[in-house]
Structure formats: structure tokens, C-alpha cells
Amino acid sequence: MDANVINPFIHATSNVLETMAFVSCQAGTPYLKRDDRATGDVTGIIGLTGETNGTIAVTFDEGSILRVVSNMFGEEITELSHEVSDAVGEIINMISGQARREMEEHGRIFHSSIPSVVSGRGHAITHYSDGPKIAIPFTTDGGGFTIEVCLEY
């Protein structure tokens, strides 16, 4: 999978979190993920169809998502809850939308499904395609999170 596939998701993630939550994040080195175990405590996942099919996911450490959601809401959120899960669904929705806009500029059209959210330590992330799972770790002041991109290329 080349950088042209990964970069829109990196750009979108940084922009969504900086714009909606005023959180700066730094992308680490992408790697090929071999298992289904989530590295984070709460995960948003969304399906993509179009030029090819697949899923993208974002999985947050508790510390990072509490910082993000607290900033989004303008009030301190101290524990994982239904409202945090709802926010993660909206975050992956926005990441998907922004990344698809960037890809459309290069003539690559994708559509997305309604997102779903899974939480709990050590939960599984199920990607609905057989493509390689590319993970991109990010760091923030509040903790880490990881984007997973799995497309049938």
C-alpha cells in the first residue's frame, strides 16, 4: 500500500482533532498489523466502498480520548461512557469524510457507511476486507491513538 493511500487518513486525522478538539498530534511510523487486538480502549470503525472496499478504524487510549472529548465539549470528561463512544463515532465519521475529499481530488471516489464503536480493554477490531492492515500510531499530550487502514489493494 503506497503513501498516497495512507496520507489522506493522516492529514484528515490531524485536521479533525486540531479543528474540533484543539489537540495537536504527531504521526509515528506506519507498520503492518498482524492481529485483530485493539491497541486502544475505545475504537471507531467505518466501512468504505468505491474504488476498492475496506474499513478504517481509530482506536484511542483512555487518556487521549478523554482529553479529546473534554476539549470538544468544553468540560472535563473523566471516564469512558456512552457520550465518549458517541464522540468516537463522530470522529471516525469526520476522518472518513475529510480523507475521502482529499482522495476525490485525485479522482478516487469512495463512499462510507454508518460508523460503529467498540470499547473495552483488549477488544478486537474486525476489518471487513482481506487487504493488509496498515497501522499509524499517533501521540498527543493526553496519550496515544492509532489509525488502522485496511483496503483491498
Binding site: 485536521n15 479533525v16 479543528t19 474540533m20 472529548v69 470538544m72 465539549f73 468544553g74 457520550e83 458517541d86 464522540a87 463515532g89 463522530e90 465519521n93 469526520m94 472518513s96 469524510g97 475529510q98 475521502r100 475529499r101 476525490e104 471516489i109 454508518i114
Partner: protein, 124 residues
Amino acid sequence: MSTSLKILVVDDFATMRRIMKNILKQLGYTNITEADDGTTALEELKRGSFDLIISDWNMPKMTGLDLLKVVRSDPDYKDIPFLMVTAEAQKQNVIEAVQAGVSNYVVKPFTAEAIADKLGKIIG
């Protein structure tokens, strides 16, 4: 800009309704009603007159675009300014919304300044 406007905020994600309400309150708008999709928005429209609708696009049961089409075809609601707020900004989406009579369009993620700017253009 009048802050007494009655505003209907439509989004299936409570998070986005909360963020939008916070921004609207920062801008001085406090008369806000929420709906979690197009069908519940129509129920709210029947209950009372609104000065502005701010709606998401992708929602279960009835999308924002379908809600817009119903609003524009109903003589009681057709003149209500309609701001679409959505992650969908691919060219075809914009064309569809314009053809359906959207007043303006905000793409997620957005800032409070972007919402203020769009409201200024819609309701002056």
C-alpha cells in the same frame, strides 16, 4: 444579528448536537431544539415555528437531504433557512444540496468562526 431566533439542530450524533449547541450559545443563540434525525425533525417542525434549521446529512431513517426536500416542498416550512452541516462534501453532494434548495453548507470539521460566518450569510 438577532439572537432570539428559534433554531432546530438535527444530527443523529449527540456529540455533534452538543458541539453545535455550545457554538450557538457562544454566538448568543439560546432558543435551540434538538432532533436526532429527519423524521423527528419533522415532528418538531409540526410542534412549533422555527427560524433556522441546522442539519447533518447522513442520518438513519431520514437523511438531511430528504429533510431538506420535504421542507422546501411544504408551504409552511419552505422559507426556513437551512444550513447543511456534514462530512459529505464531495462535488456531487454539494450539487444535490444546492439543487434541493439548501441555504448554505458547512463541512466537518468546522470552527465556531465558520458557523458564525455561514449564519451571517444566511440570516444576516
